[in-house]
Each structure stands twice: as structure tokens, then as C-alpha cells.
């Protein structure tokens, strides 16, 4: 086990010990802060009944669909905007302002348009993924140095040459940073949508049940599941980014 791992694990372990001590010593009401073994029991039950797998599947499906819709629109729009000074002047300020609106402020409007069901949830998740991707891909393409634009002229590039040989690879790092942020945002939005819009199968739905049945151990268990899934997302995108930007590490 590496030193850095031990260091990173130190704080959580201490926290868990304090948690255990607190809920057993009667310092806090175990109904509000269930002891770890209660969480474990809830987790095993969820696993055994298949509820856990079903919930993860449902949430991930929603998350991925919303992410794909939002980040595709965001990236394509951002790249197109970044390619031309005119589109930047026309659409840039609007997007900057759009970004100032807190994500969850869109919920009333989106649920009015698309309803609180599946479509409304996915629209909200897509909106979450759209925001960072559009801004990052726009900035990334717009920040391609003037020298490379000149080079593309000097080499008599035509059609999509500039896009495929210069604009996209040159902004890949920023586009990727946007996608990575979008993945996290979309995941937060997924849970947000499941908790705030209509109840539906998924992790948010299970947490909702935990809240209504006052089963704090169920609630805490799903909080941990959320942390793990979010962490895996971050890990996976980091890996992929390093692989795609090999020239940078070179």
C-alpha cells in the first residue's frame, strides 16, 4: 500500500471511528446517525433483493442519456461558436450569462416544459451537461493560437482540415475538462432530478424511500453508493484523458 494511499485513507477512517463511537455512546440519537453495522445491514438487504442493482441501472441509464444529449449539443455548439469571431460576438455573452443561472433554478421551467417524468429528468440532466461543455469547447477552440490559424492558411487547408487537424486536437484538453465536469454535473443532476421531480426507480428513488420510511441507514447507504459511483466517474475520465493526450505527456 502506497504512502499516499495511507495518507488519503487516514481522514475517512478516523471519521468512521468517531461516527461509530458517537452512535454507540449514545452521544447522538442512532435513529438520526445509524451505526455502521446498521448501514451494512441495509446495504446487504438492498444487494440481496436486487434493489441496489436495479437502482444503479436506472440512475445510470438516465444519467448517461442526459449526459450524451447535453454534452453533444454543448460540445458541437461550443466548437462552432469558437470557430468564428462573429458567432462568438453573437452568442458568447448570452452563454456567459446563462452560466450564471444556478443549475437547479432551471427545474421549475424544465418541469413545466417537459413534465416531472422521465423526459423532464433527462432534460434537466442534459442541461447540467450542456453548461460546462459548451463553455469549455468554445473557449478551447477560440484560444487556438493565431499562429496555427496562419499555418492552416499557409498549408492551404480546406474544408474540415482546420477543424480536424488543428481546432479539435488543439482544444481537446479543454473539451475534455468540460466533459469531465459535465459527467459530474450530470450525475449530481440525476440525483437532484430523482429527488426533486417525480419519484422514479433509481438511487434517488431509494433515498426518497429511506427518507419517507425514516430508515436513515438506507439513506446513508445510498449516500455512500453515490460517492463511489461519482469517484469511479472521475477516475475513468482521468484515465481516458491521459490516453487521448499522449503528446502532452511526451
Amino acid at each position: 500500500m502506497s504512502r499516499s494511499f495511507v495518507q488519503a485513507a487516514l481522514a475517512p477512517v478516523i471519521l468512521l471511528i468517531l461516527w461509530e463511537a458517537a452512535s454507540h455512546s449514545g452521544l447522538v440519537d442512532p435513529r438520526f446517525l445509524p451505526p455502521l453495522e446498521q448501514v451494512w445491514i441495509a446495504g446487504r438487504a438492498e444487494w440481496a433483493s436486487g434493489d441496489l442493482a436495479a437502482a444503479i441501472r436506472a440512475s445510470l441509464a438516465r444519467d448517461i442519456l442526459g449526459f450524451i444529449v447535453g454534452s453533444t449539443i454543448g460540445t458541437v455548439l461550443g466548437v462552432v461558436i469558437g470557430l468564428s469571431k462573429t458567432t462568438q460576438r453573437l452568442l458568447g455573452p448570452m452563454l456567459v450569462v446563462h452560466r450564471q443561472i444556478a443549475l437547479f433554478a432551471w427545474i421549475p421551467l424544465l418541469s413545466a416544459w417537459f413534465g416531472g417524468g422521465e423526459v423532464g429528468k433527462i432534460a434537466f440532466i442534459a442541461m447540467a451537461a450542456f453548461q460546462p461543455t459548451v463553455v469549455n469547447s468554445w473557449r478551447g477552440v477560440a484560444n487556438i493560437p493565431q499562429q496555427y490559424r496562419e499555418l492552416s492558411m499557409a498549408l492551404a487547408f480546406r474544408g474540415l482540415d482546420f477543424l480536424t487537424l488543428i481546432a479539435l486536437p488543439g482544444s481537446l484538453a479543454e473539451i475534455f475538462a468540460g466533459l469531465r465536469a459535465a459527467l459530474i454535473y450530470a450525475w449530481m443532476a440525476t440525483i437532484g432530478a430523482e429527488l426533486l421531480l417525480d419519484v422514479a426507480p433509481g438511487l434517488g428513488g431509494r433515498m426518497d424511500e429511506g427518507q419517507h420510511l425514516f430508515e436513515m441507514n438506507l439513506l446513508v447507504f445510498y449516500l455512500i453508493v453515490l460517492a463511489i459511483v461519482g469517484g469511479l466517474f472521475t477516475l475513468a475520465t482521468g484515465r481516458l484523458e491521459t490516453r487521448l493526450a499522449r503528446w502532452r505527456a511526451a
Binding site: Q147, M153, A245, W247
Partner: protein, 288 residues
């Protein structure tokens, strides 16, 4: 380290490269002027530049830093079409860059995300050649600049001089009829520099490419050029056009060569008196 084990091997490469021997473009500039707007004021960077370059001729341009040499090359290439006067390449007014003209920029401008090989290949993006022909051409040019071993390296893994050589290969790979070189050998060590001077001279002569070379190295200008244009700054203008004769251009120790070099150095304001003055100062410092 030798790029070519023998002269005959080099000839083979050269023969491969000159598949279709084309004539270089004629280049003519008349009363060319260029202004830049800096802080609401128009600054004249080039004024009344006029010269003709014959097809296949090698023209060197020397001049102090900031006298507008790079700007002039940008105008000739067609990167900037806002100027006074007239620039004609192959008899036609330059409206935009074209595949028949190539430039080596002052900085290498390689694309960091492509390997050396791919960086050279981008210049063939719109070429009618087959994939295999392209690959062969790219490999041939990387060999010519002595970088076969670095074909798969990314620009960040190359030294400044290696990167500049890749840029030279990129400019040559498309068989240009007009070649613009902006300090292409500036980042090279003295030995590689001399070798590449010879190779450049060979290629452009064999291919009949019209070439304009901007350099700070007066000796290089005289060694490579059929003529040397000496520019002066503020505003950038032609001070003198010095013809160079083939009879001595190949020998740096020839008295005529040295005389031409010193003439140009004097034009640039770094003549004998300055050199002598420096050595006198040095002598006095030594004595003290």
C-alpha cells in the same frame, strides 16, 4: 553522424524526390508598402519595396531585427493582403496562400499533437498523390533533414533545431515552386547549420525552386543567395541589392566572398570600424 553515407546515396534520394521537375515561380514586387495600426496610429513597417526574382533564383534578405522581413514574407505568401503596391507570383497577384508556395516560419510551428512524420504529412493533405507515395515522400524528406529516427517523436520531444528541420521538411514535401524561409536555420548548431545550408542549396537548385531566405547570418546570405537584399529599419526599406557571383559563392574563404560579406556588414552598420573598435576595447580591458 552522417546523414548520407555517400554522395551517390544522396543522389538517389534526390532523384526520388524530383519526380516531376517543375520550374520555380517568378516573383515580382513593386512599390510595396505596409502599415500597421498601433494604438490608433499608423506605423509604416515597409516602404517602397521593389524587386524581381527570376524563376529558380535564390534571394537572401538581411536586415536589423524589426525592419519588416517577416512581414514581407507574410505578404508574399498571401497571409496578409492589406498592403500598398503590387506583389505578383508567377505573374499573378497574390490573393491568398496556395499549395504551390511554402513557408518555413521563424518559429517552427509544428502541431504539438502530431508526430514529426504526421507534421510533415499535413502539407500533403490536399495532394493528389496516393497514400503510399505520400508516405514515401515524407520518409524521404525526413531522411534528407536527418530525422528518420525521430519520425514518431512528438514536437515536445524534439530539440529546437530538430523541430526546425521538421518544419523545413514540411515546407519542401509539397514540391513548392516558391519557397519562403524565415530564419530556418537559426536554431541549429553550427555544424548542422552548415550541412543544411549545403542541402538547401542543392535541393532548390535541383528542383529549380524560387527561394527567398531571410537570415541574420550575413555569411549564410552570401553563401546561399544569388543576390542579397540589405534592408534598413524605420521604415523597412531596401538599402542595397548586392549581386553574388557563383564563382566565389561556394568558398567562404575566397577574398571576394569576404569582401561581399564585409560590404553587407558595413551596410548593416557593423562594419570593420565597429569590429576593430570592439577589439580595441577588449585589448584595453585585458591590459587593465
Amino acid at each position: 553522424m552522417s546523414y548520407f553515407r555517400s554522395v551517390s546515396q544522396m543522389d538517389d534520394v534526390m532523384a526520388e524526390l524530383s519526380i516531376a521537375r517543375k520550374k520555380g515561380h517568378e516573383l515580382s514586387l513593386a512599390r510595396v508598402g505596409k502599415e500597421f495600426g498601433v494604438a490608433d496610429r499608423a506605423v509604416t513597417v515597409l516602404s517602397d519595396i521593389g524587386f524581381d526574382v527570376r524563376p529558380g533564383e535564390f534571394l537572401s534578405i538581411v536586415g536589423a531585427s524589426g525592419c519588416g522581413k517577416s512581414t514581407l514574407l507574410r505578404l508574399i505568401l498571401g497571409l496578409d493582403t492589406v498592403y500598398d503596391g503590387e506583389i505578383r507570383v508567377g505573374g499573378e497577384r497574390v490573393l491568398r496562400p496556395g499549395a504551390d508556395r511554402a513557408i518555413v516560419f521563424q518559429e517552427h510551428r509544428l502541431l504539438p499533437w502530431l508526430t514529426a512524420e504526421a507534421n510533415v504529412a499535413v502539407a500533403l493533405r490536399r495532394s493528389p498523390l496516393s497514400k503510399a507515395e505520400r508516405r514515401e515522400k515524407v520518409a524521404g524528406l525526413l531522411h534528407l533533414v536527418g530525422l528518420d529516427h525521430a519520425a514518431q517523436a512528438y514536437p515536445a520531444q524534439l530539440s529546437g533545431g530538430m523541430a526546425q528541420r521538421v518544419a523545413i521538411a514540411r515546407a519542401l514535401v509539397s514540391d513548392p515552386r516558391l519557397l519562403l524561409l524565415d530564419e530556418p536555420l537559426g536554431a541549429l548548431d553550427a555544424l548542422t547549420r552548415l550541412r543544411l545550408q549545403d542541402e538547401l542549396k542543392r535541393i532548390v537548385a535541383d528542383e529549380g525552386i524560387t527561394t527567398v531566405l531571410v537570415t541574420h547570418d550575413v555569411e549564410e546570405a552570401v553563401y546561399l543567395g544569388n543576390r542579397v537584399i540589405v534592408m534598413q529599419p524605420n521604415p523597412g526599406r531596401i538599402a542595397e541589392i548586392v549581386p553574388i557571383s557563383e564563382s566565389y559563392a561556394r568558398d567562404r574563404s575566397d577574398p571576394f566572398f569576404i569582401a561581399r560579406r564585409d560590404e553587407i556588414l558595413t551596410q548593416l552598420g557593423v562594419g570593420h570600424s565597429t569590429v576593430k573598435g570592439l577589439s580595441e576595447v577588449e585589448a584595453r580591458i585585458d591590459a587593465a
